[in-house]
Symmetry: C2
Subunit: 84 residues, 2 copies
C-alpha cells in the first residue's frame, strides 16, 4: 500500500472510530445534555445516504466506513431522543 492510501485509511479510521467514545459516554452516563439532536438527525440521515451511494457506485470502502459509523452514531441519536 502506498503512502497516500495509508493516509486515506488513517483519516477514515479516525473519523469513523471517533464516534465510539461518544457512543460509549452517552450509554454509560445516560447524559445527553449539550448534544445537538438535530446534528444526529442530519448526521445519521447523511450516513444512510452515504451507504446507499457506496452501494450504488460499488465502493466497499465507502459502504463499510459509513455502515460502521452508523453503528456508532445511531445509539447516540436514540439516547438523545430518549433522555432529551
Amino acid at each position: 500500500m502506498d503512502w497516500t492510501s495509508t493516509i486515506g485509511y488513517l483519516a477514515a479510521s479516525l473519523t469513523t472510530l471517533s464516534f465510539l467514545p461518544q457512543a460509549f459516554k452517552v450509554i454509560t452516563t445516560q447524559n445527553t445534555q449539550g448534544i445537538s439532536g438535530l446534528m444526529y438527525v442530519m448526521f445519521v440521515t447523511g450516513l444512510v445516504i452515504w451507504l446507499v451511494y457506496g452501494l450504488l457506485i460499488g465502493d466497499a470502502a465507502v459502504s463499510m466506513a459509513n455502515f460502521l459509523t452508523l453503528v456508532f452514531a445511531l445509539p447516540i441519536l436514540v439516547m438523545k431522543y430518549r433522555k432529551g
Copy 2:
C-alpha cells in the same frame, strides 16, 4: 449531473452541515456536558488528515468537504476543553 452524483452530494452535504447545529448549540449554551472530548480530538485529527489526503490526491471535493467540517467541528473541540 447524474442521479448517483446527486445522491453523493446530498450525503456529503448532510454529514458536513450536521456539525453546524452542534457548534451553534455549544457556542450559544456554553454547555458541553455529555459531549465526548476524545471524540472531537479524534474527529478533528481525522479531518486534518482527510484534508491532507484530499490535497495529495488533488480531489477538491474531499478537501473542501473536510475543510468545511473542520470549520464547524474545531469550535466544538475548543469549547469542550474550555468548559470541560
